[in-house]
Every structure is written in structure tokens, then in C-alpha cells.
Symmetry: D3
């Protein structure tokens, strides 16, 4: 698995959730987690969550850090959703080192009752993907500011979160290779 934090800023318009984006961007031929910072402005044609689409939701934020995860080992929806929730819990664990009262509800994180994150997961015929975005600043929703985090903390957090997921994945892959099958009553 490849863990990559982009130096340059890049906007998230929803096309990055497409399968094979990582290969197209950086010739990555492994499973991957890629972090970058930029505007979030999801075009309607890239909306994966039909609830957003139906409600004509605007998914917009002027400054977010984004994580794009891609796995090619399965096209099982249940697996990618479990991984999405696990990733959300990991983000909460990292951010809780800075602020005590972060609340997770499914794939959403909240601070002081304000929504801090957006996320979606799905699959194509060839890969599974997760997008996860966290507001750096926001007038209405929660953001790094509510956590007492400033501009100088952003790069470090992108790195820390991406590496935490990378390590969790490696650790899972190792653990499942030393367990024998279950007995049956």
C-alpha cells in the first residue's frame, strides 16, 4: 500500500473519487491513501450519495484536507463501508489528541455539535474508494479552528492521519495471516 501526502494544493470536485485516479495522477499501482489540501466543490455529476443528489445538496468548503483511499482487493460494498467507518474512527482518535469532545456518528465527526467532516464510499467493477474531507476553516460548520488547530498544524495532521490508516491496514493484513479457521458447534 502507498501512503502519499501531496505538497501542492488541489481542489476536490468529486472526480477524484473515480477509480484509477491515483494511477492517473501519480502512476500508483498499489492500494493507496493520498492526502491533499484544497477547496471542496462537488459537482452534481460526481455525487455518489443519492441522498445528497436528491436534496440538491451543495457540498462546498473553501478549505479542507482530503483523503482518497483506493483498494483493489475486493468489490464488496460491505468491506469498503467497514473500512470507511474504521477510517472515521481513526480520524477521531487522531483529532481527539487535540480536543476532547469530538463525537462520531457513523461516517461523520462533530465538534461542539457542528459537523466537521464529509465522507462517501463506493465501488466500481475494479476498485473500492473512500473520500474523507475535514474542514480547515469554515464559517458555519466545524473546522480545525474549533479544535484549536491552525495553519501550521495542517501538514502534520495530513501526514499523521494517512500514516495511521496505512499502518492499520498493514497490521490487519498481518493479523489475518496467523488465525486458523473457526470450529463449529
Amino acid at each position: 500500500m502507498k501512503c502519499l501526502v501531496l505538497d501542492e494544493k488541489m481542489d476536490y470536485d468529486g472526480s477524484q473519487i473515480s477509480s484509477l485516479w491515483a494511477y492517473n495522477l501519480e502512476d500508483i499501482q498499489e492500494d493507496s491513501i493520498i492526502a491533499f489540501r484544497g477547496v471542496c466543490d462537488v459537482k452534481i455529476e460526481h455525487m455518489i450519495d443519492l441522498e445528497d443528489k436528491k436534496q440538491g445538496d451543495i457540498i462546498f468548503s473553501t478549505d479542507m484536507i482530503h483523503f482518497i483511499i483506493e483498494h483493489f482487493d475486493s468489490s464488496d460494498l460491505k468491506l469498503i463501508y467497514s473500512r470507511q467507518r474504521l477510517f472515521t474512527a481513526i480520524v477521531k482518535e487522531v483529532l481527539s489528541e487535540y480536543h476532547n469532545d469530538i463525537v462520531r456518528q457513523g461516517d461523520d465527526l462533530f465538534v461542539n455539535g457542528k459537523k466537521l467532516t464529509v465522507s462517501i464510499a463506493s465501488t466500481s467493477a475494479v476498485s473500492q474508494k473512500i473520500h474523507f474531507g475535514i474542514n480547515v476553516v469554515h464559517d458555519f460548520y466545524g473546522s480545525f479552528e474549533d479544535l484549536g488547530l491552525g495553519n501550521d498544524d495542517v501538514a502534520g495532521l495530513m501526514d499523521k492521519i494517512a500514516k495511521r490508516y496505512y499502518n492499520e491496514f498493514i497490521d490487519i493484513e498481518k493479523d489475518l495471516r496467523k488465525s486458523r479457521p473457526l470450529d463449529v458447534i
Copy 2:
């Protein structure tokens, strides 16, 4: 999915990780999470983790709360391990409401540097299972006592943790039924 907290105490000897234990115990014909309290004393023939078996580990605790999760929707090792890590993160989230410095490393929780939990996951040809145990008291390892939790808190916590996983599972099942497939670059 069935969520059940047993009133009576029951010892965990490792046979409860076997597939179909829930059916045998309570005629449960759903996916399930069952919580109970009792001694933990895993017999060598029930050890699923070969690392424990090789090292001749003793998995023993005089008083634990146990969670047994069974899913019949897949026999994919990657899925049950993702679910195990997610469950571990959920337990951490619940316990963190009582104590600030709980640390998760994979499927283990630590308090004050002391290991608080044991866990294993695997699959048979018919179902996937997770066992997760938390020390209520322990002379050497971490326990509820280190979290400032006493005997009166045990039943409530068993219920809270089991329901949290149950709700997470229901929520995942609903979320994956409103997401369209990914585009491809």
C-alpha cells in the same frame, strides 16, 4: 441483527467463538452480538490465534465482560478483521467517556500502558466471528478499576457497547443502499 445481553454469568473457554454458538445457546437465527460476564480461560484447542498457541500463552482473567459477534453474510477474512477493528474503536469511544487516555493499537486497548482487552476474529465455511473481552478486575493487566469503573457500571457498559455496534451495523447497511457505483477515470 440481534443484540443480546445475558443476565446470568458464563465463563468464556474459547468454545463460544465457534460458529453457530448463538443458535445453539438461544436459537438465534440472525447475525448477532451477545454480551456476557465471566471468567476467561481459553483452552489450547480453542485458540484461534496461532501466535498465542505457539507461545503457549495463557489467556486467563478471573472477571471479564465478553462480546461475541457473528455474521453470516460473508466468509471474507478482510471483512471480519475490518469489523473487529471497528468494534475495537467503538469500545474505545465508549470507554473514553469515562477515562481520557485509552490507547488503541490494532485490536488491543491500553490504559496507563496496561493491556485492557483481548480479541480474536476468524471465519469458518458458514460464518464470521469476533470475540472481544475486557477485564473488569485484574491484578496485572488493565481493568475497569483503572477507568474508575466499578461493579455497578458493568451491566450498563455491556449494554451500551453492544447497542453501539448493533446501531453501527444497521447504519452501514442503510448507507450502502443509497450510493451509486464509482465512475472511472
Copy 3:
């Protein structure tokens, strides 16, 4: 699983076989069977069966009852086709309570040598679906009239057939949760 019989009429133009139609229509976030009554007029771009498409078949009927089944638990073609045949057999069982000589050939039902039904099944990356239509009246093909069934029977039959499949599904899910794996010679 959700079982729903629509009160209002609705035409079937083939778009209803698309994945996530049930969510779009009624915010359903479960597996589902939805029954409704209306014209059947399948547009060429919605034809799933390439045999129909190649032959330029017209799939048209002025009055049909329609069943749309969606499962999110697998994308295995073999499973959805087995479910389609099972559903066809269920419809035959229900209709045979009204008329003795209904014949099933694969996913087709015949009465007095006249084709009574149309059906298709397939999968996307996120869900499996079945469409099954039965003529209420028809000048050329078989219809409810050939079974001695009139307008007053339609709503009751939609309900009976949908519930029968729903119950079969629930029953299967329960049965597979009490069977141990096979031995091997």
C-alpha cells in the same frame, strides 16, 4: 427487507430495473420488493436482455402488474438468476390456486399455451435486480382473464405474491443460520 405495494398506477418503461430506483422513489434503504400496476413499454435503451435487443423485440402490454426486486447482498449473477427462477416458481404457485394448468419454463409462465409473463434479472456494481411482469389483460398473450381473474383480484394478487417472496427470503435467511458446514469424504 421491505415489501411495498404501490396504490397509484405507474408505467414500466425499463428505467425501474436500474439500481437504486427504490431509494430514489421511496427512500428505501433495505433490500426490497415493490409491486405496482401499469402499462409496460420498455425503451430500447433500457433493455437488459440482448436477445430482445438484437431481435428488435417490442416489450409492450397495456396493463400489467409489475414486481421490482432489489438485493444489495451480492453482485453474483448466479444468485440473482436463482432468485429469479425461485420468484417465477412462487408466482406460479400463487396463480395455480386460481387455474390448474399454468406451465413454467425457466422465467416464463404460460396459460393455455399463451405466454403470461415477462422477466429479466441482472446486476450492477452495487445491487442485483429482477423485473417480473404479468399481463392483466392482453389481446394476444395470456393474461389474468385466462385465469378467470378480474379487476377486483389484481390488488390482492399483487399483495399476495410480494408477501410470498418476502416471506421466502426471510425464511431462507433464517435457515442458513442454523446449518453447520459439510463434511468431506
Copy 4:
């Protein structure tokens, strides 16, 4: 797929449900349906259905026709249970040519309110199997006698039922090879 009706009688003791029985018996290296006639006397160690095992059920009949189906294309429990229900519906369709009021409830057939059949399905790591037995004569349960069928009809029915499943399977395999994937709303 191989369709085979054994001439000689053979007792069913539950070991025939084991994976690879067909290879062991007749060197069959295809998916298969094998029919034979004989006593049914299932030993407790071969019971797959834990409900029978728990209740100490005796599964015994002095004269039955047996069908053993084995598929190697999947180890999905949902698939083999759908196939079992479809097979049950096929048996009902065949027997209904001789008697009007056969009732199917899941994997059971009833005549005059009396249970006519036994069945189980499960999977190992290498194959899926179904056993289905129909009483030829029985003092208490339903049997061919209740259908007005005698000794002379048995061989013909074994052949007819086995061929009907064989043909259904072939037909499904062909149908799923001409259907394009679903669109998505």
C-alpha cells in the same frame, strides 16, 4: 453438469451429503445431481441442521427417493439455499402433475397436511450440496401413496425430477450469458 439415476438401491445415512461423495462413488468431475432409492437413516454425526441435532430428531424412513446435488462454482450459503428452494419448487411442479393439492413451505412439501419430504443444504470450503428425500411409503408422514403413485412410478419420477433440475441449471447458465449490467439511477 452430470445427471445420474442409480439403478441399484442405496441407503442414505447422511454421509452422502459430504463434499466429493460423487467423485468417490462414480469418479464424477462435474457439478452433479444423483438420484437413488433406499432407506433414510441419518446418523447424528452427519446431521447438518442443528435444529434436528438439538431436538434429537430421528430422520428415518424405510423407503425414500433421494437427490444429491453438488455445485463447485461457489461457496456462498445464499446461493445454495436459493438453489434448494428452487429445487423444492421443481419437485412440487413435477408431483403436482399427479396430485393437485401439494403445498410447499420453504424446503418442505406437504400432501393432505402430511410432510412428504426432508431436505438440507450447506457448503464446505470446496463445494455446495443439497440433499432432498421424498417418502415412497410411510405409515405416518406423507408419501407417494398419498399422491396415488405406486412402485412402478418411482424410477420414472427419479429421472423426471433429476432431469428437470439439470435442465433448469443449464438454462440459467445460458440466460445469464446474454444480459447486460444494470444501469443506475
Copy 5:
């Protein structure tokens, strides 16, 4: 499985890699390998390999023999890629009967250091496919001429290679139906 060698020439423009091409062409409702001879000129919109697409590669050859393989038994990328490599090895085995120094690197064959073949594999929601092309003549790349093979050898080789894969597939399907599951340490 169907093995078919087309008499008439046909150009390969990349559309033949689409799922269900064999059904559309010849009403084939089995897994299949189809061989034909013709120009190779892959349009950009049919390019499956993003590496080719990124580099604006021209995939062009005036005279090739083409093999199109389609399997409907799985949509696992790992399986179709293993089958592609096995097919490449089979082609090498056949061609090595005519020339000693053919080298295989993944899914490519080389003669005298010159690339002799092109290949791609992928999956849709309904089937897996492989395209494999071998130059008959070529000014720059390797071709049958480098193997000492002329126009008269072409039809025979198309037949030999297609049958070899067909036989390998049949043989695998038989072998996997006589192996018991693994024990576990």
C-alpha cells in the same frame, strides 16, 4: 465452454473486448474463446489499459491473429489476470514448437528482442475478458515471420492455440472437483 475460429477476417478495433460481444456476434451463451485474423487498430475510447491511454499509445498492426476470451463465472480481477498470464504461457508453449528463443515477460512475448504480442484483461459487472493479439507480419515489431512461420501456418495456429486454452480450462474445472479442502496447522 465454446471454442471458435472464425473463417472470415475481422478487424480488431477494441470494441471486441466489450462484455457480451460473443453473444452479439454468434449468439454464444457459454464461456468462450474466439480466434480471428485482421488489422489491429484500437480506438482511444476502447483502451482498457490506462498506461496506453496516458501515453497516447498507438496500438496498430496491419495483420494479427486475435484471441478473445470471455468468462462469466467470476468478476474477480485477480482471476482474469491469472488466466491472462496462463494464456500467454500457453501461446509461448505453442510458438516454442517453431522457434526456440521466445521470451515471456508477464503478458508479453518477445522474439529476438522484439515484441510479438499485445494483450489486455479486465472485468465488467457481468463478465471477464482477455484480448491477445500476435503479429502475423510487422515492419518493426516481432511477427510470425521471425518465427519462420508463413501465411499457410496461420489458420492452423489459431486453431491450435484456441484449443489448447479450451482444453486447459476443461482440465482445471475437472481437477478442482476431486480435491478435498486443506487441513490447518
Copy 6:
């Protein structure tokens, strides 16, 4: 994936085909290919191929090189059998550098009409495995001697073959991560 050639000799008695043998031996928590040299004497209880078992075959050779491959990414029989055939073709490619007329038939290699190798593949609920053995010397069957290879060549060949499979696996994993899904006719 881990590629390991053991320095010390070890006999193959069939227990090495069991899942998790690599973890037990060397704490390997990756997919793996392990090569070693030793007697081959497969005990009847470790025979995976029922054909051998039925025929009471003796699988014995005083001096063989052995390859044990284990993958945890799937329990699909079709995948492990495709990998077994691919591995057999790889061994042929390597040995053909030393001798011209090696013939592959499925998972067997022959030299001068004499069988040179033994192989089996299967799956448990947790992993897939392949055993492949090549005679170093043999009075009756083919061996390295028939290829003009002596004792000094053995270690080099174990290494070359193991690395070739390792590299093929890595290459496949990379290739499947740059291919977009198929279109559909």
C-alpha cells in the same frame, strides 16, 4: 509477498500443504512461496487429491525440490488452480533453459516421456495453497539428471523458480491496478 529458500533440508510429508504452515515455521505473515529440498513421502491422511487416495497411490521420491505457495487473498478454487497452472508453466519456462523438450500437461511436467513433477492445490476457509515438487534424482521417473542438471544446480534453481513466481505475482498485482472496467455491447 515473501520469497524464501530454506538452507536446511526438510522432508515433505504432506503436512506442509496445511494452511498457516509458513507462519508456524517462520512467523511469516505475508503471502509466501517457500522452497526447500528433501524426501517426498506423502502420508495418506495428508493426501488432498482424492484420485491419489482412491488408488492408494504412493507419492514418494528420495530427493525433490519443493515449493509451497500460500495466498490469503481469496478462497476461490478457480483462482488457486489458475495460479497452479501458471506456476507449472513458469517452472517449465525455467527448466526449458536447460533442456529443450519439456512437455507440460496441466499441472504435470514430462521429460523424455517421464513424469518429472508432482503438484496439488486446494483451499481452506483461510488460505489457498499449492505444493509443487520436482525430482532431483529418480530411478524410474524423470529428474534433474534427465535435464543434465546436477547437485550444484539445485540451490540456484530453487532460487530462480521461486523468484520468478514472486515477480510474476507482483507484476500481476501492479497490472490489475491500471486497467479500467470493460464496456458492454
